[in-house]
Symmetry: C2
Subunit: 374 residues, 2 copies
C-alpha cells in the first residue's frame, strides 16, 4: 500500500463519513484507510455508506480544496499535530471519538506549532465580565508564545481569538463546518483574518455545513489539540462543557474561571470546579503555570501588602497590642496588660521602637500612628 493510496483513501473517507465517527476513525487507525475503504465496499450491510464512498471524486475534491487554499493534513504528514494521536485511546461518546481521518486546514500556520497551545472556550452568550476575562487570559497565553485555540463562536470563543490577536500572538479556529466556510457569518472578518495569518482547521470536508454532530466532533479536537482548556463562563448545558469533558477525559489540564454564584453563565464552570474536574484559575498567570512544563512557568502566589505584625512572635504581638495610642504607658503597665515580664516587655518595646512601631515619650510608650493600621 503506497502512502499516496492511503492518503487518497483518507480523503475519500473524510468525504463519505461524518467527522469523528468512531468506527471509521478506529478502523483507519487500526487497519489503515485503504483497507477501511475496501472493507466498506465489501460490506453488504451498509450499502448507503458504500455508495457514498464510491461517489467521492478524490481528484475533484482535492482540486476544489486547493483552489480554496485548503490543504489536507494526515498523521503521515510532518505537519500533523501528534497530540491528536491521544484520541486513539480517548473515550467514545455517543458514537464519536478516535483520531481524525484527516484535517482540512486553511492558512499559513503549521499545526505542529499548536503543541503548547491553550484552548479558551465558553458561553456564546457571555457577559461582559466573561468576555473581558477571556480576552485577558488569551492575551497572557499569546504573550507567553503559545497559540490560543477556540471555535470562532460568539462570546467567549471570539474573545479568546481577539485577545490573542490584540497581544500580537497566534490563534487557530477549529470549525464545525468546512474550512472554506464562515460560521457564524457575523465573524467573517475574524475568521478571514485567522485564515490569512494563522489557520482554520476542520475535520469536515470543504463545503460542509455546521451540524450538531460536527460541533460535538469539533469539540474533541479543540480539547485534544491544546495542552489545557480554559472554561470561561458556561451555563449548565453549555456546549463548552462538552469540550471541557473531552479535555478532562484526555487528561488535558482543565481550568475554570469562577464568577458570581448568582450568574447563570458561571454555573457550569462552578460545577466543574466543585467536582474537581477543573482547577480554579483567576487569570493568565494561573493558566500558564498549570499548562507549563514543570518549572517553566511559576505563578507568584499572591500576597497582600506586607503588614508589620506578620513576622512577630506571639509575645511581641501581645506587647504591641498593649501599647496605647492616645497617651503614653509605663513599661510596667504594658508588661502587666501584655502578660509578660517587665524585663521581657522592656526588651520587646525597645525592639519595637527600633522598628518604628512604638515611641518612648515623656509620658511613656505609645504607638506610632501609621496609615492603615488596625
Amino acid at each position: 500500500m503506497s502512502g499516496e493510496q492511503e492518503r487518497l483513501a483518507r480523503v475519500t473517507l473524510s468525504h463519505a463519513t461524518e467527522p469523528g465517527d468512531d468506527k471509521v476513525c478506529d478502523s483507519v487507525t487500526t487497519v489503515g484507510a485503504a483497507r477501511t475503504v475496501e472493507e466498506v465496499l465489501a460490506d453488504d450491510a451498509r450499502p448507503e455508506l458504500a455508495a457514498r464512498v464510491k461517489a467521492v471524486d478524490v481528484d475533484r475534491v482535492l482540486s476544489i480544496a486547493d483552489r480554496q487554499g485548503v490543504r489536507f493534513v494526515t498523521p503521515e504528514d510532518g505537519e500533523w499535530p501528534s497530540q491528536l494521536d491521544d484520541l486513539a485511546h480517548g473515550a467514545r461518546v455517543q458514537g464519536l471519538g478516535g483520531v481524525p481521518v484527516g484535517l482540512w486546514v486553511k492558512g499559513p500556520m503549521r499545526l505542529t506549532e499548536l503543541r503548547d497551545s491553550v484552548a479558551i472556550v465558553g458561553s456564546r452568550s457571555a457577559t461582559s465580565y466573561g468576555f473581558d476575562i477571556a480576552t485577558d487570559v488569551a492575551a497572557a497565553v499569546a504573550r507567553s508564545g503559545a497559540a490560543v485555540v477556540s471555535g470562532a463562536a460568539y462570546g467567549i470563543d471570539q474573545a479568546g481569538h481577539r485577545g490573542a490577536l490584540a497581544a500580537g500572538g497566534a490563534t487557530v479556529a477549529v470549525l464545525a463546518c468546512g474550512a472554506d466556510r464562515v460560521y457564524p457569518a457575523a465573524h467573517r472578518e475574524l475568521i478571514d483574518h485567522i485564515a490569512r495569518h494563522f489557520a482554520l482547521v476542520s475535520e469536515a470536508p470543504i463545503g460542509s455545513a455546521p451540524t450538531k454532530v460536527r460541533f460535538l466532533s469539533r469539540n474533541r479536537l479543540i480539547a485534544a489539540l491544546s495542552r489545557g482548556t480554559v472554561l470561561v463562563e458556561a451555563a449548565l448545558r453549555s456546549g463548552a462543557l462538552n469540550t471541557a469533558n473531552w479535555a478532562d477525559q484526555l487528561s488535558r489540564v482543565l481550568m475554570g474561571v469562577p464568577g458570581p454564584v448568582t450568574s447563570v453563565t458561571s454555573q457550569g464552570v462552578h460545577e466543574r470546579i466543585r467536582s474537581g474536574a477543573a482547577t480554579l484559575v483567576t487569570g493568565g498567570l494561573d493558566v500558564l503555570e498549570l499548562v507549563g512544563a514543570s518549572g517553566e512557568q511559576l505563578t507568584i502566589v499572591p500576597r497582600g501588602p506586607e503588614r508589620a505584625h506578620d513576622d512577630f512572635s506571639l509575645r511581641e504581638v501581645r506587647v504591641l497590642d498593649a501599647v496605647p495610642v492616645a497617651r503614653g504607658a509605663s513599661t510596667e503597665s504594658i508588661s502587666s496588660i501584655a502578660g509578660v515580664g517587665v524585663q521581657e516587655a522592656d526588651r520587646v518595646l525597645v525592639a519595637l521602637g527600633e522598628a518604628g512601631l512604638v515611641h518612648l515619650g515623656v509620658d511613656g510608650w505609645r504607638l506610632v500612628a501609621r496609615a492603615g493600621r488596625r
Copy 2:
C-alpha cells in the same frame, strides 16, 4: 482533687493567661488545672505569671460574671461542646492552640446545640454580593436546623448572623473580647439580641478588650466549634483566612464561595479553592451537602432545562439535523444528508414525528418550530 477545685483553677488560669496560650492549654489538658496552677506558682522563671495567678480573686470574678449573666463552661460540664477537644491534637500556631481552659458564655442556648453548626466567615469590607450570599447561605443552614457560628464583625460575619435570624434559626457569636462587652460597638443591637436568645461565647474573661492575639485565638474556636466553615469573600490577608486555616487544619469541611476574579475581596477565597484547601460552594444546598452526615443532605446536581436532543443516539441526532425547517424534504434526501440508510432514516423520522420534533407534510419532512431550539 475535687471537681470544684479544678473548676476554680480553670477560672484562675482563664484570668491570668491569654486565651489560647498553647502551653497553658496543653498543661491543663495533660495534668489538670489545679496542678498547672501549682506548677506556675512554683516556677521561679515566670514570676509575673505567678503574680497574676495569685492576684485572681476567683469568688469576685465569678460573682461579677454572674451579675453580667455570664457563665463559665468547662470540659467537665454537660454543656461542653466536645468537638473542641479536637484542639488537643490540632496545630500550635505562633504559640496559640489547644483546648480552651474554659468558655465564658452569655445567653440561654446550650453549647451542645452547636454540634451540627456551620461557621460563616469572611471579609469585614464585604461587597453587597458577598453580603447577600452570606445571608442566603446562613438562612439555608438555619432552615436545616443547624446553628450559624460567626464572629459578630462587620461584613460577612454580620450577614451570617442576620441571615440565620431572618430565617428564624439559631446563631452564636464567638467574641475576641469578654462576653460582657460589645465589639464592634455598632453591632450592639445584634450582639444583644444574640445574647438574649442564643449565646455569646468567649475564651477571654469578663472585661477583656479585643486584641490581635485574642482574635487569632477566637478564630480557632469558630473553626473548631462548627462542622464546616464557609468562607465568603476574603482578601489575600483577611483575618477570615486564619479561621479557614484552622478549619482545614482541624479536618473540618472548608468551603469557599467564588466571586468575580476581578474582585479583590474574592482573591483569598479563590486561592484556597485553587490550592484544594477549600471546596467551591455556590449556595446553601452545596454547604448542607458537604457538612451533612453522609446521605442526610443531598444536593441535587444542577441541570439545565431538559432539551430534546439529550437522550438521542448519534444516528437520531444526525437525522434530526438533516431535517430542514423552511420546506419539506424526502426521506431519501434526509437519509443521504444524514449519512444513514433510507430504512433507518424512515424509522428514526417516524420516532421523531411521534416525539413531536418533526412533521410529515405534503412536501415531506420538516422540523416542528419550537421556542428555544437552536
